[in-house]
């Protein structure tokens, strides 16, 4: 665990850069994490996914999988890969300030 500064505030992150405490997140923090990960601008479509991620995490305690995102976020899987290249579920979770999605055994 280490501390970094986002939007002028100290924020705790894990070894891979995921926020330790989702409560330390705000939209500016999200924008800064996105920029660090190669997403220059968060469009409305990005925000649809990020907001869905946060709501889903706060309600269920786990981050949604890529398939759940494709079914329920309003953004199809193909587009998720365009918005959040490589691993949309992971990258969107990072931007949304929630812990890394964990596969079950």
């Amino acid at each position: 665990m280490s501390t970094v500064t986002y939007a002028g505030e100290p924020v705790e992150v894990d070894a891979e850069g995921f926020l330790e405490d989702p409560a330390q997140w705000n939209e500016q923090v999200g924008e800064q994490i996105a920029a660090e990960n190669g997403i220059d601008e968060l469009t409305d479509r990005h925000w649809m996914v990020v907001n869905y991620m946060r709501e889903s995490y706060l309600e269920n305690g786990t981050a949604p999988s890529i398939r759940t995102l494709g079914k329920a976020s309003g953004v199809p899987i193909k587009e998720l890969y365009a918005l959040f290249p490589k691993g949309p579920a992971k990258l969107a979770a990072k931007v949304a300030g929630i812990p890394k999605p964990r596969g079950c055994i």
Binding site: I77, K86, I105
Partner: protein, 419 residues
């Protein structure tokens, strides 16, 4: 007053729950179990079938015959559950009223969720081994396969028995080796995960094992399309893996009646279930067990077996008006067949990932997370236990529902995480 208990599904969870409840209540409960057919498949056998190690008929029995004779078994398709009217509506127009409902309907395989997969299966170069018919077709295909590229691909988690695709890789290595064609067959494991397995310690051990057997791994591969004609898997981010024979583990979802029963399931059709009490979050008189649930543990017979004790205790407490026990801890264990007459064993729960040691205790037990012949023998010896102890709902001596740390050795976690 007789308690009316309805159970959807006569697989592992539904059968053991029905038999346990019958033993507890005797004639004081009227138990009805509904399923769409009378074929109970011993699912661990599906791993061995494609390699000719078990004939299909040896792993199927009548569902009705596994239930106590006073339990009513109905064959029928469930249309939906009416949570406010406390009744299950069947597609033939009949209905089953209940005081208490247990959903044990398992998972459905959904090849149609992956573009091109149904066509490739039809064409005959893509197979699965997650159903009796598919596993049998794969056996016939493997029997005539002596050179080329075999690709094993779980499309997306969660899947039943998450170690089975790895076991399939190990057994394929052994199978082609025995037939003297191993050097002409490339085996590649293509996974959506970032390693061989979900948890770091086991992932490292299993990754090493794949490597030592010359099995290639392609990780973080999110399958977007199967091109049967061109013989290639294509990921959403446009990576490609060529194959001559694809063993696909299709996307899993809940049974289709769950979608038609508002409030009962999540987006993927799994029952929203309290992870410790096994009560549905949609209605107090509805419980769920096994693969049908959205519990964050393995979809596996072992987890279902251990859930059985919590479930039946909580059903009794529900009828007695008592507070439920939150005693299920996510415990499961499983043998991982590694070929050449050896197997590993893993034991874990919600909190504790698979680690080395011995099970159930340090002094008397099977080696954990380590290849051994003893584990292989135990895996083979399990089938009679399944039919004669697990399904009837008898406790198996030495195998407790709750996980114990006795015999486990702590090791540094490869990712430096503590969970």
């Amino acid at each position: 007053v007789k308690r009316k208990i309805t159970i959807i599904g006569a697989g592992t969870g539904g059968t053991l729950t029905a038999n346990r409840l019958r033993r507890h209540y005797g004639d004081e409960a009227e138990i009805t179990v509904v399923d769409s057919d009378d074929r109970h498949v011993y699912q661990p056998g599906l791993l061995f079938l494609p390699f000719g190690l078990t004939p299909p008929e040896d792993i199927v029995r009548s569902r009705a015959a596994q239930l106590h004779k006073e339990i009513e078994f109905r064959i029928g398709e469930v249309d939906r559950v009416d949570l406010t009217g406390d009744r299950v509506l069947l597609k033939d127009g009949s209905e089953l009223a209940y005081d208490l409902l247990v959903v044990a309907s398992g998972v459905s395989l959904l090849p149609e969720e992956t573009e091109g997969l149904p066509e490739a299966m039809e064409k005959g170069n893509a197979f699965s081994f997650y159903s009796l018919d598919e596993a049998t077709a794969l056996r016939d295909a493997l029997a005539g396969f002596d050179s080329g590229r075999v690709v094993i691909n779980p499309v997306e988690m969660p899947i039943k028995c998450p170690v089975a695709p790895l076991e399939f890789c190990f057994l394929a290595d052994w199978f082609f080796h025995e037939r003297g064609v191993r050097d002409q067959v490339e085996i590649t494991f293509v996974t959506p995960l970032d390693g061989a397995f979900t948890k770091p310690i086991a992932s490292r051990e299993l990754g090493d094992l794949l490597e030592s057997k010359g099995i290639a791994i392609e990780s973080e591969f999110a399958t977007g399309q199967v091109d049967g004609e061109g013989g290639r898997l294509v990921s959403w981010d446009e990576r490609e893996v060529p194959f001559d024979l694809l063993v696909s583990i299709p996307v899993h979802g809940g049974s289709s009646f769950i979608e038609r029963s508002p409030g009962l399931g999540d987006e993927l059709g799994f029952i929203k279930t309290d992870s410790h009490t096994l009560q549905s979050t949609a209605a107090k008189n509805v419980f769920a067990i096994g693969d049908a649930t959205n519990l964050p543990t393995s979809k596996a017979g072992s987890a279902t077996h251990f859930e059985g004790e919590t479930l039946t205790t909580n059903i009794e407490r529900f009828f007695d008006g008592k507070e439920l026990e939150g005693s299920y801890d996510g415990h499961a264990n499983c043998f991982i067949e590694t070929g050449f007459h050896k197997a590993l064993l893993i034991d874990f729960n919600y909190e504790v990932e698979p680690m080395p040691g011995r099970y159930p205790t340090a002094h008397a037990g099977l080696p954990l997370l380590k290849e051994s012949r003893l584990n292989h023998m135990a895996k083979l010896a399990f089938q009679p236990f399944y039919w004669h102890a697990l399904l009837p709902g008898r406790d198996v001596p030495g195998i407790g529902a709750r996980m114990t740390m006795a015999g486990k050795q702590s090791v540094p976690n490869p990712q430096g995480e503590t969970e």
